[in-house]
């Protein structure tokens, strides 16, 4: 902090000698670039290069050999293989449905939890710490724990379902129950994250509006729908976009718990891409899966952004 302000002072001190203000500005800009170049280089190396390389790979005839990855000319074939593949169609549908349902449920439950937390007078710190436990747990460990719970022979979930007369439903071995089981594990883990974001949004809301609402005789229900929800829209947007990005890349839970099965019922796009690249060593097709997935996430986020923006616009008019 001190070094930055020190440099700025120095620049200002030397500035009058140069005289012309636009030159001064140019010099400041140059200095800014000089300071941010190292960071930009790192960002480029770890972010932009891999993205560009991945896109190039998805558009090439890739051969993986003992001496490296060779790109042998341009082709659309990786994309045509992916777009025609029935497993990809399924994985796309599964990933979208999974994302929509988990994000919606997390948003609803997370908001409810945040509203409770906001009203807590004592022990809020403790409750938040407890609440954050699932979120702070490494996903793979979380998945292993749920694997025990869902185990078809000695799992707790199996025992409970059996005790209430539902028999042994073979949770992870049947399509729909396996998908629901993954969603529950996901919702359990990430709802606290949504709750914390929404709570932060709630705390920032101006109190005078609520006082005004109270004076006007607004009921709790209409206060919530007419004041809290509209004011929380930017917060919701934030939470949704974070979660959509994460949920769309669904990998660890099915990787540990189902391996993408039964059959291909829980094969997400990321699992499919992983299999293409690292099991089948087909880097071209794998890169095409990664690129299409990335594009879809991008579109999904822009769409949800548009959705929230439209709402704000309506409110403004």
């Amino acid at each position: 902090m001190t070094t930055i302000s020190g440099t700025a002072d120095k620049v200002q001190a030397t500035a009058p000698l140069v005289g012309r203000p636009d030159v001064n500005r140019k010099r400041m800009a140059r200095l800014g670039w000089a300071f941010s170049t190292p960071a930009l280089i790192i960002v480029a190396a770890v972010t932009i290069f891999p993205i560009v390389y991945s896109v190039i790979m998805s558009l090439s005839n890739v051969s993986v050999t003992g001496s490296g990855i060779n790109l042998n000319g341009f082709t659309w074939s990786n994309y045509s293989i992916v777009l025609k593949n029935s497993t990809w169609h399924y994985a796309l549908g599964f990933t979208i449905v999974y994302t929509v349902i988990t994000v919606l449920v997390e948003l609803v439950i997370g908001t409810l939890i945040a509203l409770v937390l906001q009203r807590l007078t004592s022990g809020r710190g403790w409750m938040m710490a407890l609440l954050l436990l699932p979120w702070s747990m490494i996903t793979v460990i979380n998945a292993e724990l749920w694997l025990y719970i869902y185990n078809g022979v000695y799992g707790v979930a199996d025992a409970i379902l059996n005790a209430v007369g539902l028999g042994h439903p073979n949770i992870l071995g049947t399509n729909t129950p396996a998908i629901i089981a993954l969603m529950i594990a996901d919702i359990w883990k990430t709802t606290p994250f949504v709750a914390i974001i929404v709570l932060a949004g709630l705390v920032m809301l101006p109190g005078d509006i609520y006082e005004a609402a109270e004076v006007d005789g607004s009921s709790g229900w209409s206060t919530f729908w007419r004041i809290t929800v509209p004011l929380l829209r930017p917060t919701f947007a934030l939470a949704v976009i974070f979660r959509v990005l994460q949920a769309f890349g669904l990998f660890d839970l099915p990787f540990v718990m189902t391996g993408g099965g039964p059959g291909t019922a829980t094969t997400s796009l990321a699992i499919l891409g992983y299999k293409a690249m690292f099991q089948n060593l087909d880097f071209g097709t794998g890169a095409a899966v990664a690129t299409t997935t990335a594009l879809l996430v991008l579109l999904g986020c822009l769409a949800s952004l548009r959705f929230f923006k439209v709402q704000v616009g309506k409110e403004g008019t």
Binding site: I81, L172, K275, N280, D282
Partner: protein
């Protein structure tokens, strides 16, 4: 008002750029998967062709007779209890070759994770590990991609002749042997001696008999489940399926790996039978999520009468404190009624491969050759009950009397997985995902097999690995 609007607009803009940053991060994360081995992307195949002659000239005079150097050996854990067999082997080797130093890198236990790691290492040009212990199903994929040295260029036919029949053939791709068999594994039928004796039942020789034995034992209340095996959506299911398929007289592909034959009556019979094990209650419904550990623990806790598993299952069922101690027998797998006994056992196990980038291939060959020596094979079999790959050790009285598993090894019938194609991983995925879907009841055996047929055909005909 206009001011307020423009401010709102600008705040939206900033939100947007923030979002763009987040998106870039996510895209990067996704794309990174495709780039973990991009470091040597510019190097071409010329580097291998230029280094290969140099290597062969240095060792062709005396392959495997080098007596100095350092070797990094990549191997996944072989045993879970007692002294690490890998370290025991290294110590015995270094005693015989004091000037060759071997360091161990422990590989992931999951065979697919193991392969993904070593494949990216080698394609990235890494010169370590020098020698790696790899699954028996890797030769075609590794040979095709140039991830392993063709050992038959260095080691003579007399070297390969010492191994048990079928093993070298399994390690061969396109006329070259890529892996030297280190230890073998195969499927066995484990059964509860005490339970069968109580009901005066013979050890089943047919699958049908296994079902009726199971039902008898379950009805008598002696055991919860009849038969447990590996039915999860993973490589192990391909192994189990191969056994039923071969018993039923079917194959996965033709001998030249050009066409698949999975929508045949034999394949449908195999899957229909596997599914019937679940619908009849002989196998728990959860068997469709079982890998080896779950099948093993169900059997070892006394909840099942029969188990299909690999050779280590015997030792695992005899760990002190296990309810099955002293109650377990082992036999070759049954077959379908009308077929000749025994049924087929799928071949598993591990070979030694050499990294083409290794700087010391001469010493690597010494190490690989030593692993086929009586000293090493004795350590693996006599001390650790692994099935030796060298025929003379395998049939020696000392090994045969060691435990009931090794005693029946010479009488089993073996079938390899269809791993002679570089696209085997995609072929196996076509098998295990569809068989698993049929087992879970979400699709019928015949429609599962026609889906498997079309995916297998894609796998066999696509140039790269495919999806």
């Amino acid at each position: 008002m206009a001011r307020a609007r423009s401010r709102r607009y600008s705040s939206r803009r900033s939100l947007r750029s923030w979002q763009l940053a987040a998106l870039l991060g996510a895209v990067g994360a996704l794309a990174a998967a495709g780039c973990s081995s991009s470091s040597s992307s510019t190097s071409t195949s010329t580097s291998t062709s230029s280094s290969a002659p140099a290597v062969s000239s240095s060792v062709s005079a005396a392959p495997g007779n080098a007596t100095s150097g350092t070797i990094n050996w990549w191997a996944s854990p072989i045993n879970t209890s007692g002294k690490d067999v890998r370290q025991v082997l290294i110590q015995a080797f270094e005693k015989q070759y004091p000037n060759i130093h071997v360091s161990l890198t422990s590989a992931p236990t999951n065979t697919d994770t193991n392969r993904a790691t070593i494949a990216t290492d080698i394609s990235g040009g890494s010169s370590t590990p020098d020698v790696f212990m790899g699954d028996v199903i890797w030769p075609a994929q590794f040979g095709e991609h140039g991830f392993a040295v063709p050992l038959s260029n260095y080691l003579p036919a007399s070297y390969w002749a010492q191994f048990a029949p079928g093993l070298v053939q399994g390690a061969t791709y396109d006329g070259k042997v890529y892996g030297s068999p280190m230890f073998e594994d195969q499927g066995f039928l484990y059964y509860r001696k005490d339970l069968l004796a109580k009901e005066h039942l013979p050890v089943p020789k047919t699958w049908e008999q296994l079902v009726s034995d199971s039902e008898t034992l379950q009805k008598a209340g002696l055991v919860k489940y009849g038969f447990v095996w590996e039915g999860d959506s993973y490589e192990g299911l391909t192994c189990d399926f191969m056994e039923y398929l071969t018993d039923a007289g079917g194959t996965v592909t033709n001998s030249s790996y050009t066409t698949a034959s999975l929508d045949t009556p034999a394949a449908i019979k195999a899957v229909t039978f596997m599914r019937s094990l679940i619908t009849s209650g002989v196998s728990p419904a959860a068997v469709t999520t079982f890998q080896e550990p779950q099948a093993m623990s169900t059997f070892a806790s006394g909840q099942a009468a029969f188990l299909r598993n690999w050779d280590y299952a015997y030792a695992d069922s005899q760990v002190p404190g296990t309810p099955t101690v002293g109650k377990v027998g082992v036999a070759p797998l049954p077959t379908f009624q009308g077929e000749s006994y025994p049924g087929y056992s799928n071949i598993g196990g591990w070979n030694l491969y050499i990294n083409p980038h290794s700087k010391n291939i001469a010493a690597d060959l010494t190490f690989v050759k030593w692993m086929a020596s009586t000293t090493a094979q004795d350590i693996l079999s006599v001390q650790y009950s692994e099935i030796p790959t060298v025929e003379s050790v395998r049939t020696s009285p000392q090994v045969l009397k060691l435990n009931p598993v090794l005693a029946i090894v010479p009488s089993t019938r073996l079938v390899p997985r269809p791993a002679g194609t570089p696209n085997y991983p995609a072929l196996s995925t076509a098998i295990y995902t569809n068989v698993n879907a049929a087992l879970s009841g979400s699709t019928s055996p015949s429609s599962a097999m026609s889906a498997a047929q079309s995916q297998a055909t894609t796998a066999l005909t696509s140039a790269a690995g495919g999806l």
